[in-house]
C-alpha cells in the first residue's frame, strides 16, 4: 500500500497539477520559515527579512486562492511599504545592533509557546471539525469585480479607509516630526 501510495504520489508529481501542489507546499514552507524567522530571530533586521519572506509566501497562497490582485497588493503594500517603513524605524531607533532582543523573561518563551499552541490548536481543530457549506461558483478573481464592489457596495468603507490613511499619515508626521533637539 505504501509503495503504491508513493507511486501515485510520484506520478502525481510529474503531472502539471501535481507541480502546482508542490509549489503550493513550497509557498507554505516559505511562509512558515519567514514567519518563524520574523518572530524568533535575535536581530531586528532579520525579523524584517523574515517578514518579507513570510509575506511573499502569503502572496503565493493568495494566488492559489484565485485572487492574484490581492496577492500583488500584498507584495506591493507589505513588502514595498510596510517592511520598508519598519526597517527605517529600526535604523532610526535601534542603533546598537549587537544588543540581543531575546525573550523578555525566563517564562515568556514557554508561556508564549503554550498560549500560541493552544490558540493554534483550538483554531485548527475548529476549522477542521466544522462542515463548511460549499460554494456554488468559484470567484473569477478579476480586478473588475473588486473595483465594482469597492465603488458600489463598499464605497462608504472605501472612503473611510482613505480618511483613516490620511489621518495616519498626518499623525505619523506629527509624531515623528520635531528635530532631535526637542
Amino acid at each position: 500500500m505504501n509503495s503504491s501510495f508513493l507511486m501515485s504520489q510520484a506520478h502525481a508529481l510529474f503531472s502539471a497539477d501535481g507541480l502546482a501542489g508542490l509549489i503550493f507546499l513550497i509557498m507554505v514552507a516559505v511562509m512558515l520559515i519567514g514567519g518563524l524567522m520574523a518572530c524568533t530571530s535575535e536581530r531586528l533586521v532579520r525579523c524584517v527579512a523574515g517578514l518579507v519572506v513570510c509575506f511573499v509566501g502569503v502572496a503565493g497562497i493568495y494566488f492559489y486562492l484565485n485572487s492574484p490582485f490581492v496577492a500583488t497588493m500584498q507584495m506591493l503594500i507589505y513588502v514595498g511599504a510596510v517592511s520598508v517603513t519598519i526597517s527605517f524605524a529600526i535604523m532610526l531607533a535601534a542603533p546598537e545592533q549587537s544588543k540581543k532582543i531575546g525573550p523578555s523573561g525566563p517564562l515568556s518563551g514557554p508561556l508564549g509557546f503554550l498560549t500560541a499552541g493552544l490558540i493554534f490548536g483550538g483554531l485548527a481543530v475548529l476549522g477542521c471539525r466544522t462542515v463548511w457549506p460549499v460554494k456554488p461558483k468559484i470567484n473569477s478573481g478579476t480586478m473588475e469585480d473588486i473595483g465594482a464592489q469597492l465603488l458600489q457596495n463598499y464605497s462608504m468603507v472605501f472612503e473611510l479607509v482613505s480618511v483613516v490613511l490620511l489621518i495616519a499619515i498626518l499623525g505619523a508626521i506629527i509624531l515623528a516630526r520635531g528635530g532631535r533637539n526637542t
Binding site: 502546482a20 509549489i23 490582485f69 514595498g80 478579476t142
Partner: protein
Amino acid sequence: MSLTLLNVIVAVIIAIAFAALNAAYLVWAERRGAARIQRRPGPNINGPFGLFQPPLDGVKLMAKQLLIPGGVDKVLFMAAPVLAMAPAITSFVTLPFSDLIVGHNMHIGILLIFAFASIGGMSLLFAGWSSRNKYSMMSSVRAVSQAIAYEIPMLITVITVVMIAGTTDLMGIVKGQMGGFWHWNIFPFKAGLFNPLMLMSFLIFFTCSLAETNRAPFDLGEAESELVAGFHTEYGSMGFGLFFMAEYANIVIGASLTTILFLGGWDCPFGFFPGVWWFLLKIYLLIASFIWIRWTFPRTTIYGLLNLSWKILIPLSLFNLLLTAGLLKVF
C-alpha cells in the same frame, strides 16, 4: 492552471538565460559605448569586437573565491544578491515580447512587475545593512528612500496609461496602441483622445525608471566617489555578479515597460509587420540611451533627487492624471 504553470517554469528558465545573456552583453555594450563616448576603443582584444570579453569576465567572477567579511550578518548577506536577482527574473515572465512570445500573460501584469520591484528594493537594504560597512549602510538607506520617492510618480504615470488603455494587462495595453506610431501612448493623437501631455509622462516614466534601476545620474546607491561602491562594497565574485546581473535585468525591464506603456510594444511605427524585432529594437534603443545618459551627466545629490521627485515629477504626473481622467470623461 496546470498547463500555465508548466509554461511559467519554462518561461522562468528562458528568462534566466535571457537575463544572464543580456547582463553579459549589456556590460559589453556599456563598456564599448562608454569607451566610444570617451574616444577610446574599449574592450576589443578578446574575440571580434571584444565579444568574448563578457563570458571571460563571467568565468573570472565565478572562479573567484566568495569572501564573507567578518562581522557580517551571514544569512542576509548571502540572501541579498539572490533577493535582488529573483524578482528581476520573475518580472521577465510576465513581459510580453510580442503577441506570441510571452511567458505567462496575466491581467494584472503591470502590478505584478511593481510588486516584484519592491522586493528588489528590500534586497539593497539587506545587502547594505548586513555588510557591516558604514558606506554600504548609507548607500542602502539612500537606495531605499530613492526607490520609494520614485515609485510614486512612476505609479501615477502608469495609472494614467492604464486609464487610457482600460486594462492592467500588459498585452492589452500594447494591443490598444497597435497600428502605427500615431496610436502610441507617447503621442497624443489617439482615437477620440487628445492629450498633449503624454510626452511629458513618457519623460517622467523614463526618468523614474532611471532612478528605480539606480542608474546614473541617480546612482546614489553606488556613488563610487562618495560611498566607494555602495551596497555592494563588500561583495565579490558571484555575489557581486548577481547584483550586476540584477542591475542590467532591471534596466531591460525598465526599458521594456517604457516600450510597452508608451512606445507601442511590438508595434511597427508605420503600421505593418509588427513583431518581436520591433520590441527588441525599441528596448535596445532605450537601453542605449540609458548608457548614453550615464556617460554624459554627473550624479545628482540626494536632496536634488528628492526635490525632483516631490516638486516636479509628482505634481506634473498628478496633473496629467487629472487631465487624462477629464479627457476620458469628456470623450
